[in-house]
Subunit: 412 residues, 2 copies
Amino acid sequence: MLKIRQTTSEQLSLLIELARWISISALVGIMGGSASALLLISLNYATDLREKHVWLILFLAPAGWLVGEMYKRLGTSVEAGNNLILEEIHSPTATIPVRMTPLILIGTFMTHLFGGSAGREGTAIQTGASLADQLARPFRLSPRDRRILLMAGISAGFASVFGTPLAGAIFGLEVLAIGTLSYEAIAPCFMAAFVGDLVTRAWKVHHTVYTVTDVPTMSIRGVAYAMIAGAIFGLAGMCFARLTHAVSHLAKKYIVNPPLRPVAGGLLVTIAVFGLGTSHTLKYIGLGIPTIVAAFHSRLPAYDFAAKSIFTAITLGAGFKGGEVTPLFFIGSTLGNALSRLIPLPSSLMAGMGFVAVFAGAANTPIASTLMAVELFGGEAGAYAGIACVISYLFSGHAGIYSSQRVGQSKH
Amino acid sequence: MLKIRQTTSEQLSLLIELARWISISALVGIMGGSASALLLISLNYATDLREKHVWLILFLAPAGWLVGEMYKRLGTSVEAGNNLILEEIHSPTATIPVRMTPLILIGTFMTHLFGGSAGREGTAIQTGASLADQLARPFRLSPRDRRILLMAGISAGFASVFGTPLAGAIFGLEVLAIGTLSYEAIAPCFMAAFVGDLVTRAWKVHHTVYTVTDVPTMSIRGVAYAMIAGAIFGLAGMCFARLTHAVSHLAKKYIVNPPLRPVAGGLLVTIAVFGLGTSHTLKYIGLGIPTIVAAFHSRLPAYDFAAKSIFTAITLGAGFKGGEVTPLFFIGSTLGNALSRLIPLPSSLMAGMGFVAVFAGAANTPIASTLMAVELFGGEAGAYAGIACVISYLFSGHAGIYSSQRVGQSKH
């Protein structure tokens, strides 16, 4: 009897703790999902405007100065962005300033309006986590609980910005460390991810649909091809991460005044865009969604992935704002498209595999990436993508796009 | 330059290591997949024969004695089954005797032929891992590499017996410990899982198809219903695990001679089957696949899940052989079917959620279970199932069906 009573009281206290976390993570989801909706709407607006007025790209350098000045005057405490959030999860010290949210939203908007090459997941993670962190004090959370709160914020942001709740839930657990995954925040991350995704959709934001049109029945050959492709995707992810770090390192070394770094980066991008001819280069700036969609159904130039890597590394390495993941989707899907000339798998499948696998390698998140493939492309394509993600993860080395990610377990 | 050279040599040595592991895990997959094929074919044969000749169930007790004597004389070193494999992974000592494979295959065949209520994943894991372990010596694997080998063997067995490679790959990583997951064996587990599944299919073995016919668009209500259902599924998983442990404990306490324990269990099952009337009870013995399929499209008695829990706990607790997972699918899908009278979600969706979520709770493997849902029922049902699996995992306590599972991170 005692055992049963103990058990019942264990389940009861669990129920109470869960009810508390449900409220907290629902709030995290509502805030993160709303911020993602605002972000997506503002980026649609910025992209439309820029596509109508290509001359806006001439002002990328001055826009970079504005973003740089804004962060120099108001944002030094939040400039580390995603890495600040990861550091706070690893060793909690102080609440993340709420100003992270408006600063990153404005910075990302400016970056995209004036033609930087960047993504959005970094922004969504920062708004999700910094808004979530504001709940720590009113709910009197312990440092351990604050860690869970921040992970739920990451999940809410990631899930809502891409419309992939399962991938978002696991991403918040998986991104902290390379090679290990701990379940302590699993329920809050799931809750925040699903609520965040629903809230973004409730704001009438629609996500792009990518369609893998042709998936051959799995075979030993299919496994082998997916592994070869995965290794190449992993190297591409590693190259992108290193290139971005190298640009950032050079900019910091040679340009002392921070706001001048994005000015230099902006100038380079503007010169490249107009110097090489807008008919060739416009696809490499901004999010690049039309090219990602095209990678699933048309034959694209084989160098697209390299051009996008360079444009994005310059933009983000120089200090513009946004994320790395949508460019990684671009790099991966176009590289997959190109590789389908050599690897005998359908090009739309290869695009889908590259879409998630370059990201898996660069972010060191193979399970979240596999779930994303399943959510976006279905289970059959997800099987190929899962193999590619795991091999990409192995081949991408230990220095991914998030420098504050720890090494929980060496890859080899 | 040095850095680039270092990197290149790092990737090269990775390539060599990977090539070695690809050969090893392909062999693991071939052996595990073939053993699963043999198991599935033999169980089909046993089930057909038993359904044609119901009187076979009268001989369950003597069959239990045979199984018990067989293990007493030949199998004391491998009697711990799944737990022996988990122990060897946690602290490697000696190669698992190859006799584990024929003994468990024969034991499972006898259990099913004479009407015990049991599953098959335990058998597939044991054949997969014990066959894999035979490669440790020829390939001169270190103790660390032998752990990876055993995990790949688990993945091969699980993936091939259910036809779910992604779930199998993650199951081999996830089952070791509660609350943490380490990636060191991720590539061998994926490789062994995919090859194992392909090999089983190459042996012309077909897997049952379960169809979730109706999935409403996700909503806040849907999330809430999935959480409530998940909590109940978790409690059902916990009750099943405790009941099985309790039967086993009682049998060991009151029956000194091991072969007499399955005799007692067999007698109980036979008396129950014929005493309560075969028209009611035959569905609870064996694998119970027709009832699982029916749970996805028909209304079933609300007590089915409880009856199956009792029949299986007696069968397995008394020392018959097989696995727990197919009975857990039965318990989950029929419980989901029953709960759809109270929870306003479609009954086929509730059956699918229960199918994976009771298993997630009892085995403490929420991510593998979510992937299984996606592979079997598709991404949309998988979202509901994922929520249910995570909540079930939280509510099932720390004593699952695998006693040798360690607690990596407490659930709450």
